[in-house]
Symmetry: C2
Subunit: 342 residues, 2 copies
């Protein structure tokens, strides 16, 4: 009797504590490929990164991704049971097929790549591919700024302006995965030219290059400022981060640039609020460091433009996970995909 | 044995053909209250309408709605088994509670009205309340222009610009039902003042009053046109419909007004396409009669502004059900609600 009880007890114990699954997350960028082992709760356990060397073409990038994953698996000495691979890639991704429908110019030849097929052949485990803004938003939703809400938007302001929309705890991708292009929402149809070829997109006002362009124009008329001196020394040093630091040191031009960015950001966010009514919006990327300097004018413009705004609270906050958001999100999306296959 | 078989057969027959349910649909407008009996497939069988007389206040409007429903039931001599009531109301609606969270100025005192409580007490059947742009979009989705698609947006251009967003065959309302405010999307932040108090909303460019204002300005500089003559005779005759008819007769100013409206509409639609990636967008309201005159510049602007537009086909079409869309949608939403209660 005792023996039976014990064995039953052991059986129950095994059921309650099965061997945990781990996931390989890949965050593919124009400059670096980053990879990590992520646990079921989105914690990063091991990581590795190499240069993307995108100019070598899609095939070489694919080889480098595979190599990096092998290296990570070797490094972790197979102590983890890896259940699936999750990848965040720039461009528009068919998440059903795991194929890159479109890619930006910084990944030449990437369009048409079937990442799922390529990696499932190599590693014989399920592979889930999504747009990198979606993986980042998913990471922030479950482990970062958006933990407490179900309807959430995360925006990353960098070279471009990318965003991920979470509705009822799921990534919203639109029909055929073409939706969620937050950066290419027109906020002023006769505004400045955007990288996409159109005029007045949000990206054309607040991306890193838009801010640098605006700074150069501002400095031409106000050369005797900290930013002016910086630009005179080395034009390449002008980035959203250096603008922010100049603003911190009291540079009036730098302050104006960030305030304007906050104003334009606020117009874009008002549109998202009027259309999606999220519970929270998180902003990441270099310029988001600027804190109140960016967020105060953005919030002011939201109070002006978003309907019913006095009746609801929509926190506009900085992201929490930094560049790890994409890895964590890719890991958690791999987990979701793996569980859906069971 | 034979008897048993027969009775089983009868039982099956009854199961297959139960008594059908019908629904009372109400479409509440600033001018008229319209009501109808709608069958399970969205067909309108009987209808009645009276003036809203909104200036008499919310309580009187509620009494008039009740009266109209009683009259409709009397008229149909209870030949239909009415299972539920569906109502489309202007304003922001808490569909869980059936309460009006916000209402526009053309329904004074309407804010805070609990339509569900008021009507469930009176009629002792379930009541479902939604925003009127949502009921119209739902109607168009299931019985009109959007029949063949699952991801659909319907926009009505009238006094205001209202829209309903359908994602995976369900109305998308956003957190706490504040979403879907298509008319108050900023398309040019330093644009004309909107009724909501902001600047550059889509509504401020293409609503009936915006078109009339634009016409008056245009006529002042071009008085010797058909529109100019019309305006000289009777300023009140100037409506989107009369502008359209003048355009049909070759009036250059009228043509320009509609072309401009199409251009601005196209910018708004591009934003919706970039964010939601619908399969189809339907446009209703007086100005939508203008056909190619409105749709051609709108489609052109979409080709300019929507990403990946060459890789997908998003038909921009006129709505099919006219003013009945709201009634049909309210009926079908009542059916969905009734079935969810089982």
């Amino acid at each position: 009797m005792k023996t039976i009880k014990r064995s039953m007890h052991r059986k129950n114990k095994i059921k309650k504590n099965p061997i945990p699954n781990y996931y390989i997350a890949v965050d593919l960028g124009g400059t670096n490929i980053r990879t990590a082992v992520v646990d079921e709760h989105g914690q990063i356990l091991d990581r590795l990164q190499i240069l993307t060397l995108a100019h070598q073409g899609a095939e070489q990038v694919l080889i480098r991704i595979k190599k990096l994953i092998y290296q990570l698996l070797k490094q972790t000495k197979t102590i983890y049971r890896i259940a699936a691979i999750g990848i965040g890639s720039p461009g528009c991704i068919d998440v059903m097929q795991g194929t890159v429908l479109f890619a930006t110019n910084n990944l030449p030849g990437w369009k048409g790549t079937n990442l799922r097929a390529a990696l499932e052949t190599g590693f014989a485990i399920p592979v889930f591919v999504d747009n990198d803004a979606n993986t980042a938003a998913y990471g922030e939703k479950f482990c970062g700024a958006g933990k407490t809400v179900s309807n959430f938007i995360a925006i990353t302001i960098g070279t471009g302006v990318g965003g991920g929309i979470i509705i009822n705890n799921e990534v919203y991708r639109g029909h055929n995965f073409y939706g969620g292009e937050i950066g290419h929402m027109t906020i002023c149809y006769n505004g400045p030219k955007c990288n996409c070829g159109n005029f007045g997109c949000l990206e054309a006002y607040i991306s890193a290059s838009a801010l640098v362009d605006f700074s150069i124009r501002m400095i031409q008329t106000n050369p005797k400022t900290k930013l002016g001196t910086m630009l005179a020394k080395n034009r390449n040093r002008l980035t959203p981060e250096t603008i922010y630091h100049a603003a911190l040191q009291g540079d009036i031009v730098a302050k104006k640039i960030i305030t304007e960015a906050g104003y334009h950001l606020g117009i874009g966010l008002s549109n998202l609020i009027n259309l999606f009514s999220p519970e929270m919006i998180a902003i990441g990327g270099g310029i988001a460091q600027s804190g109140t300097l960016l967020f105060t004018p953005a919030r002011k413009e939201i109070r002006n433009r978003a309907l019913f705004i006095n009746e609801r609270s929509i926190p506009i906050v900085p992201t929490k996970l930094g560049v790890d958001a994409g890895l964590i999100g890719a890991g958690l999306l791999a987990k979701q995909y793996y569980q859906s296959l069971k």
